[in-house]
């Protein structure tokens, strides 16, 4: 039998809000976000690092929440899809996905949008190839990707 494991304090900022939680040290960030904080915008697909549905930004950098342990995000600034819009005003990437039809079922969309946002923050005018590269870990079963690439190009043109 495994010995019981005590919960530990996790401090982090989620979408600009400081949080202090008592979590299992083996709960992934995906579980913490969806189940403790009820932020269900972050999707669970494979839960094994293979699909990108669970992508969030940690310190502005895309990471897979299904593989991150609490200790790895202690003190970090986490951005989920819920934190992207400014009130009722969508982020340029979100708007472009809507206008360009960069989604169908929408399941991959939170991860795609966040990975694209991080790309544009680091490189405001990427080539189509650079966009492809940046989204290479985010699978979409619906769109065939063309609408997604178009949307990110549009978002780059329109700025923030």
């Amino acid at each position: 039998m495994r010995p019981p494991v005590r919960r530990e304090v996790l401090r982090l900022s989620v979408n600009g809000e400081e949080r202090e939680l008592l979590v299992r040290p083996y709960a992934t960030l995906l579980e913490v976000l969806r189940e403790e904080l009820r932020l269900t915008g972050t999707k669970h697909g494979c839960e094994l690092g293979e699909c990108g549905a669970c992508t969030v930004l940690v310190g502005g950098v895309p990471q897979l929440s299904c593989l991150l342990l609490p200790a790895q995000v202690e003190g970090a600034e986490v951005t989920t899809i819920e934190g992207l819009a400014d009130g009722a005003t969508l982020d340029a990437v979100q708007r472009a996905f809507m206008e360009r039809g960069g989604l169908q079922c929408g399941y991959c969309t939170p991860g795609m949008v966040l990975a694209a946002r991080a790309l544009l923050d680091a490189n405001p005018s990427p080539t189509r190839e650079e966009i492809r590269e940046a989204l290479a870990g985010n699978l979409c079963r619906c769109t065939g990707y063309a609408g997604i690439l178009d949307a990110v190009e549009d978002a780059a043109r329109s700025g923030r």
């Binding site: 494991v5 992934t28 690092g49 992508t55 897979l64 790895q72 290479a136």
Partner: protein
Amino acid sequence: MLRLPPCSYLRPGSVEEAAELLSRHGERAMLVAGGTDLVPKMKRGQMEPEVLIGLGHLAELRAVTETEEGGFLIGAGVTLAEVSAHRRLAAAYPAYVRAAALVSSPALRNVGTIGGNLCVDTRCNYYDMSFEWRQACGFCMKKDGDICRVAPASKRCRAIASSDTAPAAIALGASVVLAGPAGRRREVPVDGLYRDDGQYYLEKSADEVVESVRLPAPGSWCSSYVKVRRRNTIDFPLAGVAVALRRSGPLVDDCRIVLTAVGSRPFDVSAAAAPLIGRELTADVLAGADGLLAEVAAEAAKVAKPLDNADLHYVWRKQMTRRAVEQAIVEAAGRLPVPTGRA
């Protein structure tokens, strides 16, 4: 939701303390750096540590430093993304940086480390499956069972060495610094880190931590890495070839070829490059003119004995190993400085 089994997470204050914790907790404990290999495997019950010894917070593992000899010392906790974006490393060691940049996907490279990459578990289609799948199929000797499912007559596990950076590091003559308890340190060539056994694939004691990777001064070596896989992203290698070439005047002076994903350890098959030594790699030779490259590639790929335990057909994987060797030589040659007097 796929969840991790209960385990505690320890934060050692130093690499030395990590080694001491490993030694104290024995088989119950495992190191975790980025966790991109370990976490999925724990979710599938392939590994069941009760204690995780975290390395991610250790600043001492995060540095890239130039050595006095003109090489580099890269901390084991440096991420694959950091290596991929490092200009001086890219200029000096194209094979290594290319290999790091071809691992998995961008978000995984932002977290996965180079130390974890050298120690990445071996792979097999009968093993990299959920607990329920393996239970239904019957467990195998790598975990919970006693026979090999892909080669039932085999006395050992034939799971596949799948690190992308290992062959590049070996071709470049790199070594690893291993830190043990009580401040013990030793340095071994990366080639010496592996055993040809899918189950016990690392040649280091269980309480040793990979502290850093040392790349020797690049000298006039030029290098390349070619990876074969189904998709150009996410997938592990089905064959990987690292080549390092050196030229003296117009003639090839030395050539190293190292393969990954064709057996249970990376294979240094540099002896196969003998026909290239003393030859000039003209455009014709590189285009396959006198069959020189094909000869070298066929010899180099001889050790590759793929089994039916990875993606795509094993005969095709063997053929592609040869093609990848040819391509890696061509790419490395393309990076050689053009000899004087020639355009």
